[in-house]
């Protein structure tokens, strides 16, 4: 698509202004991470920091459990998102290109998982986990996170797979390809963009979850990062801001890593 030069300049301008607004709260955070607790509390939030207290605030981060819980959270978020992507992809393929009766029913059944208010899961799953010995275990957390990521992932994949021509599958089937081969060797390579978006969003969701992480675990070895972060609370805002930035780094890094994939088109589209 061609765009006029004028339109392009206008778009650039609008986007520049808007994106400045979008990241301005981040400036505010950076303005305040160098301050001490009292300087922050007493002075104007909008003044430049007087000294540099960043190192002390970083130290507070190290002594808190935030860093420790990062590795276990990484395990939860990675495994949860990877498992969900794989399981959801199979389901989406089944719901779009295989002979399954009552597809709408099965679709709604999986989709349900996003519809219910999440708080209703707390009591029944807690009870079940306690009975089964999954309470306060890493396996329990990974299972839960994979399950909760499936519905959204399935929904995105399904709607993406709908756009892939059925004839493509038919011709492959005539050539004798198994369904698994079609999924893994035709669909998967075409799905770089949705796979990376779904993976990123579900990883971010697991990483940022507080309520379930807090309820289904109790020991320092199993508790995820947001639990540690929210214990810090508002007691020391500059240190909290440092912790906020540190805890957001993995999701941001992942985003930058996957960014290219979002932009990638797929070549097979028109057979």
């Amino acid at each position: 698509m061609k765009t006029g030069k004028k339109t392009k300049i206008i778009f650039n301008l609008i986007l520049s202004v808007l994106s400045l607004i979008w990241i301005s709260p981040v400036f505010f955070v950076f303005l305040n991470v160098f301050k001490t607790k009292q300087e922050y509390n007493l002075g104007s939030l909008w003044l430049l920091p007087k000294g540099n207290n960043l190192m002390a605030n970083l130290k507070a981060l190290v002594t808190s459990r935030v860093l420790q819980s990062m590795s276990v959270t990484l395990l939860y978020a990675l495994s949860g998102a990877v498992l969900a992507v794989i399981i959801a992809m199979f389901a989406a393929y089944g719901l779009t290109h295989l002979n399954i009766r009552h597809k709408f029913f099965w679709f709604i059944m999986i989709y349900c998982g996003t519809v219910f208010p999440f708080q209703v899961y707390l009591i029944p799953i807690f009870k079940a986990y306690q009975k089964l010995g999954l309470y306060n275990t890493r396996i329990g957390m990974i299972l839960f996170y994979s399950a909760i990521c499936i519905p959204y992932s399935m929904f995105v994949f399904r709607n993406f797979f709908l756009g892939i021509d059925k004839e493509l599958c038919e011709s492959a089937r005539i050539e004798g390809a198994s369904e698994f081969m079609i999924l893994s060797r035709i669909f998967l390579p075409m799905s770089a963009a949705p796979v990376s978006i779904v993976f990123l969003s579900q990883f971010t969701w697991c990483w940022n979850d507080l309520m379930f992480g807090l309820t289904f675990t109790k020991s320092a070895q199993t508790r995820p990062i947001m639990a540690s972060l929210s214990i810090m609370g508002g007691g020391n805002p500059p240190a909290l801001f440092v912790a906020c930035i540190a805890s957001s780094l993995p999701t941001l890094i992942l985003f930058f890593l996957l960014n290219d994939k979002f932009q990638k088109g797929f070549a097979y589209m028109s057979k």
Binding site: S64, T137, Q221, T222
Partner: protein, 426 residues
């Protein structure tokens, strides 16, 4: 492509491997505690109270009680109410229940005690709690059918904390009658200073309501709480109109966050706030107010003479009856109120529970000193736990409407009374 797929599956397999490994690692972690516990006992202390506390301070607190009691106490903090309620309520009936945990007083404590899941702590109360300087008078709010089911994690007193410099600069003295308080407000208002800060929190509507009722007549407050006096009673209406008048004259700020209240008090744009004693620690530590130099306290003075009322609240600390760690937990409680442990506890949390310990904060000490002067002051349980909770929930919403100027006294009192009629069956 197949190679990629293979990598994916290998990755997944690896992941499951790690999971299995981690599962056992997690169990090993828990096991370590048990090994320690085999010799000396171990107990978990679940709470939702140690949020906003540095990890170092929590470790110090756990270290203190562990070494004093010989039981390894570990802290499990819950910074989210739903998580805490779920984890505790659903495990309290099982052997996995925590030995020690904090809860909320009033109906929530009574529900738990009534369900038979709490250990009777009457013996500990008599032998280890009261002798260590905890006021025996608070026992009533922790008891059911004559048995004590909890000990106080914290006892909190509410008083007016004021900025001494603002008072001095404007030639103001601490008021001893309600009229003097009004005069102080008028002077401050005319100087462009907001006299009193109101708190913006869902539950905070009752703070000045109870203070006004009790300043008018303590018996009126008790009567309203137990249902013998209606919210639409002439006296209550009268009190509410005095309060409304003060709000209309600009003596109260609009409701604000606690951090803004602290900041405003420290920078002198607000002169007074009716807050609990632990706030003194925050005001000194985080907002630089020197105790008894920059700030001090007084009790809301009475309108018609007589004693002033100081309101208190208690956070209960309980032992789960079914817990495997029950005995260890009771052992911990024997050392909980010792002077050594309470000294650390007070420094970390700002709470003062026993008369053996003084706070590092002179204003906090002043507050405790006032509570002990029973010639002038009388302690009463605050409104939140002192009345039926379904009336309370309605009243809190209505009082917040009143404080935000969205409704007047004559609008809200009949609404609260309607609920009270339902509950008390008039």
């Amino acid at each position: 492509m197949r190679r990629k797929l293979l990598a994916l599956f290998l990755g997944t397999a690896l992941l499951f491997g790690t999971m299995a490994g981690c599962g056992s690692a997690g169990k090993d972690g828990a096991g370590e505690g048990e090994v320690l516990g085999a010799k000396t006992g171990a107990v978990e202390f679940w709470n939702d109270k140690l949020n906003n506390t540095d990890q170092e301070a929590i470790d110090e607190l756990m270290g203190s009680i562990s070494s004093l009691s010989g039981v390894d106490v570990s802290c499990v903090a819950y910074p989210d109410t739903a998580s805490y309620q779920t984890a505790l309520q659903q495990s309290v009936t099982t052997a996995d229940a925590p030995g020690l945990f904090t809860w909320w007083s009033g109906p929530q404590l009574m529900t738990l005690a009534g369900s038979g899941n709490l250990e009777d702590l009457t013996d500990i109360w008599d032998e280890y709690v009261v002798p260590n300087g905890v006021a025996d008078s608070v026992k009533e709010s922790l008891s059911l059918d004559g048995k004590v089911y909890a000990v106080p994690y914290s006892i909190i007193y509410n008083m007016i904390i004021y900025n001494k410099n603002v008072f001095a600069d404007n030639g103001l003295e601490v008021p001893t009658t309600f009229d003097e308080l009004l005069a102080v407000c008028e002077v401050l208002k005319s100087k462009g200073i907001t006299p009193i800060a109101l708190k913006n929190d869902g539950w905070a509507g009752f703070i000045w309501f109870q203070a006004m009722l009790a300043a008018y007549d303590p018996a009126l407050y008790q009567g309203v709480c137990d249902g013998s006096i209606a919210y639409t009673d002439e006296k209550v209406v009268n009190v509410m109109h005095i309060w409304q008048d003060m709000i209309e004259k600009g003596y109260f700020s609009e409701p604000m966050q606690i951090s803004d209240m602290d900041k405003s008090l420290a920078n002198g744009t607000v002169a007074m706030m009716l807050e609990p004693n632990y706030e003194c620690k925050t005001l000194t530590g985080d907002y630089g107010m020197e105790p008894e130099v920059d700030m001090s306290v007084f009790v809301v003075p009475p309108m018609n003479g007589g004693k002033s009322i100081i309101f208190f609240e208690i956070a209960p600390l309980c032992v789960a009856k079914g817990s495997d760690d029950k005995e260890a937990a009771k052992e911990v409680l024997k050392s909980w109120y010792t002077k050594d442990n309470q000294t650390v506890f007070t420094n970390v949390t700002g709470f003062l529970c026993t008369s053996q310990v003084v706070s590092e904060n002179a204003t906090a000490n002043e507050m405790v000193r006032l509570t002990q002067d029973d010639s002038k002051y009388e302690l009463m349980l605050r409104y939140y736990e002192n009345t039926d909770d379904s009336i309370r929930d309605v009243a809190l919403d209505e009082l917040m409407k009143f404080e935000t100027r969205a409704a007047g006294a004559d609008d809200i009192l009949p609404v609260i009374q309607q609920k009270a009629d339902e509950v008390f069956g008039n």
